[in-house]
């Protein structure tokens, strides 16, 4: 039981991700949360080749020291995004948004590893071929 509480507590610390750009017509660009019973939730992304998807990272407020690495940048590349907006960090404060852009480079599957001061997340990425 104590272990279960620990898992819940750890999961609560990990950052949350949200999609902040839309999919173009006829192309895929989607972020989904994947729930797990035994370990922290992960995310999955489906994006078309040649398409980019922006996601932001929060953990009560914008993530600090956000850094994302791709296992295979030839399939999915990640770039830091520079957003000129503030987001709520608690009830009274605002901080600069933290976001990255995921780019579908070639059809295939790979994994992104997101790390921030607030925790980490794994993101499975599928890059689909264009019609």
């Amino acid at each position: 039981m104590r272990a279960a509480y620990l898992v819940v507590a750890l999961a609560a610390c990990n950052p949350e991700l949200s999609q902040i750009s839309v999919a173009p017509p006829g192309r895929a660009a989607r972020l989904d949360e994947v729930h797990h019973s035994w370990h922290a939730d992960t995310y999955r992304i489906e994006v078309s080749r040649g398409v980019a998807l922006a996601i932001d990272c929060t953990a009560g407020g914008p993530c600090e020291h956000l850094h994302v690495v791709s296992d295979d940048p030839a399939i999915a590349e990640v770039r830091p995004a520079s957003l000129g907006v503030l987001q709520s960090a608690g009830y009274t404060r605002q901080q600069p948004a933290a976001a990255v852009v995921v780019i579908g480079k070639a059809p295939g599957k790979t994994r992104l590893h997101l790390a921030a001061a607030e925790g980490h997340r794994d993101i499975d990425v599928t890059v689909v071929a264009t019609p």
């Binding site: 980019a52 929060t58 520079s82």
Partner: protein
């Protein structure tokens, strides 16, 4: 809900980029209604060059130095700041600062030319014979179309005229546009072609 709030925040800024922070527009003179580069939201004609002007609108800062990069250069390449359509499809154009941070991105499409038209510089489409007097000039601009959709970009179309033509087809410094000068009385046919598409107009010069 959090995502919606965030989108509402960024939607306050103008710009067609996915993050609403930057824009890509064609480089056209204000008075040039027929400018073939005036259509940044249209697909770029395969084989054509689109000369964009990029600008960013970010609170608290003038526009930083921005670079363009194509995610899929086999569809749309970036060549010395121009977008060059290579084959049918779409590619995200990343608008980044010098250190690689993405300020915005916009999906650009490329499509084949299925029809070619000619228009005057005011945008009025040429549908019949052009009558000119000797010494008169008329500037014609080719329009690139995919079905009913006007394509963006300027293409180096081929201009030909019938033998012994009483007109001269002159370059005016642009890639696609030409100035027709009436030199003597007579009739001629001017043909423009790009790939498999072509269009012809009759020109009649009177004294």
């Amino acid at each position: 809900m959090r995502g919606l709030s965030f989108l509402a925040l960024v939607a306050g800024c103008a710009g067609p980029g996915a993050l609403h922070q930057a824009t890509l527009v064609g480089q056209c003179a204000e008075s040039d209604a027929a400018c073939s580069k005036r259509h940044p939201l249209a697909p770029i004609a395969i084989g054509a060059h689109f000369q964009p002007e990029v600008s960013a609108e970010i609170d608290g800062t003038a526009s930083p130095s921005l670079q363009l990069e194509s995610v899929d250069p086999s569809v749309i390449a970036v060549d010395h700041g121009e977008l060059v359509a290579k084959r049918a499809g779409a590619s995200e154009i990343l608008i980044s600062t010098d250190d690689g941070s993405v300020v915005d991105f916009e999906l650009a499409w490329a499509a084949p030319v299925t029809e070619l038209t000619l228009a005057h510089r005011d945008g009025d489409r040429v549908a019949g014979t052009i009558a000119m007097t000797v010494g008169e000039d008329v500037t014609l601009v080719p329009g690139l179309w995919n079905g009913a959709q006007r394509l963006g970009g300027a293409a180096e179309v081929t201009w030909t005229q019938s033998a012994d033509a009483p007109i001269a087809v002159l370059r005016d410094g642009s890639l696609d546009r030409r100035r027709i000068r009436a030199r003597a009385a007579g009739k001629s046919t001017v043909t423009v072609a790009f790939g498999d598409a072509s269009a012809a107009i009759d020109v009649e010069v009177v004294p």
